[in-house]
């Protein structure tokens, strides 16, 4: 029982560390029905604006993007340059920070 607890704590803290770069993202990108941002679960490989229950902006819908590491990194660095007029209010991260966030999104996709 004790080893099980220790293991689950370890796993939980590993998951937490993995999620750490996403803290700012997850404030809006939740699973709630009225979340300001769409779910990030399985975003890598997903065609843009494809979740049925989120009202995406026209510019994002028309962008034709399928999310991969490169375009996610570009989007997180400067959302408005990738999809001018997107509803995402995030002003953009530094290229280094965007790389960390993208890596965390990819890792998240593998673990879920």
């Amino acid at each position: 029982m004790r080893w099980f607890l220790a293991l689950s704590l370890l796993l939980a803290s590993a998951a937490q560390a993995q999620e750490e770069p996403l803290a700012a993202c997850l404030a809006c990108h939740t699973e709630a029905a009225d979340a300001p941002g769409p779910s990030l679960n399985g975003i890598v490989g997903r065609p843009v604006a494809s979740l049925p229950n989120f009202r995406y902006s026209g510019p994002l819908r028309r962008s034709g993007i399928v999310w991969n590491e490169a375009n996610l990194r570009a989007f997180i660095t400067d959302p408005q340059s990738v999809a001018p007029g997107t509803r995402m209010p995030y002003a953009g991260a530094s290229p280094q920070e965007a790389a960390r966030i993208t890596a965390a999104l990819i890792a998240r996709g593998k673990s879920k």
């Binding site: 803290a23 700012a24 997850l26 404030a27 809006c28 939740t30 709630a32 009225d34 979340a35 300001p36 009202r55 902006s57 007029g85 997107t86 509803r87 995402m88 209010p89 995030y90 002003a91």
Partner: protein
């Protein structure tokens, strides 16, 4: 025909900060609660999103989130004997409507009052003598001690994820925070926002003069935050569209983001928007509120909502008007000084300077509603008022709220009002100007009050509320004194090209924006003849009627009132759920 609805445990008038807090606490205690909101439903995920929310014309100029003056407003005059006229466009102040109330379009300046501010009459008499307060200055005390209210300030800060730096934790003064604040239980939930270069200039100049600047407590989250209700706030992006706008990142705390999700998930809570309450149903003989009457603004149908507990939690004007039109309490009469409802209406005074710098790149488009740096050396009674001829003070600082294109184009005095020279000056000075502001207290005066207008009526046919107000000697002297301080700070800045002080306070004017902080009308006190509610916000005329919001403030301080509105709502909620529900009698 009026439809009589099924009775509920509690009905709440107004779903802004105070109403939402009370609704949450009452449902938590097991009560079935109906929340009535005059305006529309507002959902941040739909209504406060990019790109539309950063439309300065729509929200700042055309005032989309403010109360609709075509259906209800107030009339204004300077003095008794004058004819009051209706305010048809908000200017000096900007009342809200809709779910969240003004809490959805505020800046997020989230202050605690100074301990002095809770009981200034007692304090002034102790320090300056019993005769120090002129008879016409009708200031009063909340009758609440600092140690009693402090935990409730803390709760409200945690709800909002306030960004700031403590200056006094448990009596220990901490460098970088406000050394004058009352002892607090702990640090702010979030670190301060990042200071702008205008703020840095202020810090340097203030420190040169020996003052101790600190970050203004901001309900603009500096980083992502999950509050005790499980609501998530995003990090502020410094977009410069705060006051008059909703927030697209949920960084600015509003009832809509911090409380409403939890409330709407609550089975015991029912929200009705477009429900304009016209009357509190009052049983004069039993001295009980029986519920409220309201009109559905979409259909025009009228309803009666009976309830065991009635909470009036509208804006200052709504609360005062409802008590007057419902015949609860004795209306204030300035001629005799008797009566309580409408008494001690107060606004705010202030001053400041615009500082034009020879060489600077301040990038004023970077901003957040409460991104400020202040000093409190001249606030409250933090300085000796002996011989000054006024009481109260001002909090002085630089706020970088965002220099938006329509509203912000500072030019030095002497610049033409239009044409090529104006355009050139607007271009040259946009990035080289900052303002040092002094937000000053306004102390109650026997001739400043609210009553019902004899002429003008609202869309439901009820009299409009009438405001009789002017700046008094105390306001004018305070403003002049504070403006002198701001001039000294400006002069201590490097590379100053020009300093333009604000005009001295003359007559109050309802057109230019000054501060949207109105207080009084249903004030708190210890005497049922001169106050409307006791220290728990409970009506003296009905022990099941509670009034929440800044209408219970006996006078106005220099600070923005929201922090105290929230703290008093939690304080009253605790008194109701811990004491009143067990024994529904007068609590004081």
């Amino acid at each position: 025909m009026t439809v009589k609805l099924k009775p509920v445990d509690a009905v709440i008038v107004g779903m802004g900060w105070a109403g939402s807090i009370m609704a949450r606490e009452l449902t938590r205690a097991g009560l079935h609660v109906v929340g009535l909101e005059r305006g529309p439903l507002r959902r941040p995920s739909e209504d406060f999103t990019l790109p539309g929310i950063r439309d300065e014309l729509r929200y700042a100029v055309r005032q989309e989130l403010f109360a609709d003056t075509s259906t209800e407003t107030l009339t204004f005059r300077h003095a008794r004997g004058e004819e009051a006229l209706p305010i048809r466009r908000w200017g000096a102040f900007t009342p809200g409507t809709g779910l969240g109330g003004a809490g959805s379009h505020w800046n997020g300046m989230h202050w605690r009052y100074l301990p002095y501010d809770l009981n200034p009459r007692r304090h002034i008499q102790e320090r300056y003598g019993r005769g120090a307060i002129a008879p016409e200055m009708t200031i009063g005390d909340f009758g609440i001690e600092w140690s009693e209210i402090e935990p409730y300030y803390g709760r409200f800060e945690k709800l909002c994820g306030v960004s700031g730096k403590a200056g006094n934790i448990g009596g220990r003064i901490i460098a970088g925070g406000n050394p004058f604040e009352g002892a607090r239980g702990g640090e702010f939930p979030n670190a301060p926002l990042e200071r702008t270069s205008a703020g840095e200039l202020f810090v340097d100049a203030a420190q040169t003069l020996g003052f101790r600047p600190f970050p203004l407590p901001a309900s603009n989250a500096s980083s992502a935050y999950t509050n005790p209700e499980g609501a998530r706030l995003g990090a502020c992006t410094y977009c410069g569209h705060c006051e008059r706008f909703g927030c697209e990142t949920n960084a600015k705390a509003s009832p809509n983001t911090t409380l409403v999700p939890a409330l709407l998930a609550e089975q015991r809570f029912t929200l009705r928007s477009g429900a304009w309450v016209s009357q509190i149903l009052y049983d004069r003989h039993a001295r009980k509120a029986r519920g409220v009457a309201y009109t559905d603004t979409a259909s025009g149908e009228t309803y009666e909502q009976p309830a065991d507990l009635v909470i009036v939690a509208g804006y200052v004007f709504t609360n005062t008007k409802l008590l007057l039109t419902s015949g609860i309490g004795r209306p204030y009469d300035p001629a005799s000084g008797k009566g309580a409802v409408g008494r001690n209406y107060a606004y705010q005074t202030g001053g400041g300077v615009q500082v034009f710098l020879k060489d600077a790149a301040l990038n004023p488009f970077i901003g957040a509603g409460a991104l400020g740096t202040n000093i409190d050396e001249f606030n409250g009674d933090n300085f000796d008022h002996g011989g000054l001829g006024f009481f109260g003070g001002a909090t002085i600082g630089v706020t970088s709220g965002g220099g938006r294109p329509i509203g912000y184009h500072p030019v030095p005095p002497g610049t033409p009002r239009w044409g090529g020279a104006w355009k050139q000056a607007a271009h040259d000075w946009y990035g080289r100007t900052l303002s040092i502001g002094a937000s000053g207290a306004s102390y109650a005066h026997r001739d400043n009050y609210l009553d019902l207008d004899p002429t003008y009526r609202d869309a439901l046919g009820q009299p409009l509320l009438r405001m009789t107000f002017n700046f008094r000697e105390n306001d004018r002297k305070l403003a002049a004194y504070a403006t002198e301080v701001t001039k000294k700070i400006a002069a201590a800045m490097p590379g100053v090209a020009a300093i333009a002080p604000a005009n001295p306070r003359g007559d109050f004017h309802v057109v230019p924006y000054q501060s949207t902080h109105n207080t009084g009308g249903t004030i708190m006190g210890a005497d049922p003849h001169s106050s409307v509610v006791n220290r728990y916000s409970q009506s003296w005329d009905a022990d099941n009627l509670f009034v929440l919001g800044a209408s219970v403030f006996p006078q106005n301080t220099s600070y923005n009132p929201t922090g105290t509105v929230g703290a008093l709502a939690y304080w009253a909620a605790d008194a109701i759920t811990r004491r009143w529900l067990k024994s529904p009698v007068a609590l004081a």
